[in-house]
Amino acid sequence: MNLTLKIWRQKDKATPGKFETYEAKDISPDMSFLEMLDVVSERAQAQGQEPCAFDHDCREGICGMCSLVINGVPHGPEAATTTCQLHMRKFKDGDNIVIEPWRASAFPVLRDLVVDRTAFDRIQQKGGFVSVNTGGTPDGNAIPVSKLEADLAMDAASCIGCGACVAACKNASAMLFVAAKVSQYAHLPQGQAERSRRVLAMMEQHDVEGFGSCTNFGECEAVCPKEISVRVIAEMNRDYLRATLVGTDP
């Protein structure tokens, strides 16, 4: 298949970028989107042009490294799918495809389609963990967790930190990401000891990083490759307000 690509090119953080158009000829429908970009980059390189930079790692849909806003949708047109798992058969011969980086002031573009997502790391470092003092390993089933609560925690924990929720949000809010990281512990006994300080500290960092505020449109949930529900945002709001108004940790 033959495609016309409009790709965002930007030399570095400081230089303003612009779109450039590429003809992608003889693309196999069985290629993944990233393989298609590999081919286009290789051909450009063979002609002495700079290849286009984009993020990727596992290419299995589990690491959260790949990104790209494809025709206005983070991770492209297929629901619950990362860009690396998106295949060219989802497109038609002759399609025009616009490829842009995640756009948020908290995710500055480093080069072309690569953005700096370390803001997520800094949020995580504020409380996306449970503090465990050293000592003997506890018995596997010593603390009972109901199946329902375990499932809710696991659903939240499947967030891969890709940032598509920020990219899709018209306010560039990272609420879905932060809420997933807060919710996964809120449903487990191990998370209770630091429940209030976790949500306060992580949200404080969210705001410091310059992410926007949630207007409950649900765009994040629609693009999340791991189908994290905005249910986690409601839970986090409740935890945050409780922690603010009355709460201290036990």
Binding site: R103, L200, G210, A234
Partner: protein, 242 residues
């Protein structure tokens, strides 16, 4: 983990978190919105007495006017809530704009409802509608053409009160005013079709059990409010209320 919660937060910390954080500001917006919605429902229910007749409606209006201090406290509260609602909306909007300095070249909506996408426009127009409404029926400054100079009504108990019923009828017999009011409350309903569920989500009232329900209850309540408010001008316009 850095402990930012203990010991007990203290009132200044509570205030700074509520007004200085995104969730706190959103909660202020949600709470003020919910209280204004509650007022709207009471207001709407009161107006439905127009269907019963001039006697109960004018008696009700007179009762409200005679509340004195309570009346002013409610008025003051409503103004304060409105200012809080608009102020937090403004601050959050500014923040959100700054969070995405470069817009997408192609942008596709996947989930947002029409009510959600038009929140700012509907909210802005509703504000002007409410201001007009106050100048019209409370201050009697605009849209008063045709109001009789001696507009009092004699209640069954002999008390002479303002004939608010007559003013409503005269106003809404003017098609421009009647349709203008229907349009205004229509935009209010559009605003609330997203606003109600958004407020509940922001206040953390939705869990997986209630979310699907509230997603429908929000628009349904907005529709109910619209039907109640719009019925009066439409009934006058079509001659059902004279």
């Amino acid at each position: 983990m850095e402990d930012v919660s203990q010991p007990s937060p203290g009132i200044s910390k509570v205030v700074s978190r509520m007004h200085g954080s995104t969730i706190g500001q959103k909660a202020l917006m949600a709470v003020s919105g919910v209280l204004l919605i509650a007022f709207s429902f009471g207001h709407m229910a009161g107006h439905l007495q127009m269907f019963v007749g001039p006697e109960p409606y004018n008696a009700y209006a007179h009762f409200l006017q005679s509340l004195g201090g309570i009346k002013w406290a409610i008025r003051f509260g409503l103004v304060a809530l409105t200012i809080l609602h608009i102020f937090s909306a403004f601050q959050l909007t500014m923040r959100n704009r700054a969070a995405r300095p470069i817009a997408y070249a192609s942008n596709k909506w996947l989930a947002a409802s029409i009510g959600a996408k038009t929140m700012r426009a509907s909210g802005g127009i509703v504000l002007f509608f409410i201001l007009y409404h106050i100048l019209h029926f409370t201050v009697l400054l605009v849209g008063t053409a045709g109001f009789p100079p001696e507009d009092t009504y004699k209640l069954a108990n002999g008390l002479m009160v303002d004939d608010v019923y007559r003013r409503m009828v005269i106003s809404f017999q003017n098609p421009a005013l009647a349709l203008g009011y229907v349009f205004g409350v229509g935009l209010l309903a559009l605003h609330l079709s997203h606003g109600i569920q958004s407020a509940l989500q922001t206040l953390g009232a939705l869990n997986s059990t209630y979310r699907p329900l509230v997603k429908r209850v929000g628009p349904a309540l907005a529709g109910l409010l619209f039907a109640g408010f719009a019925s009066v001008p439409l009934a006058v316009l079509t001659g059902c209320i004279k």
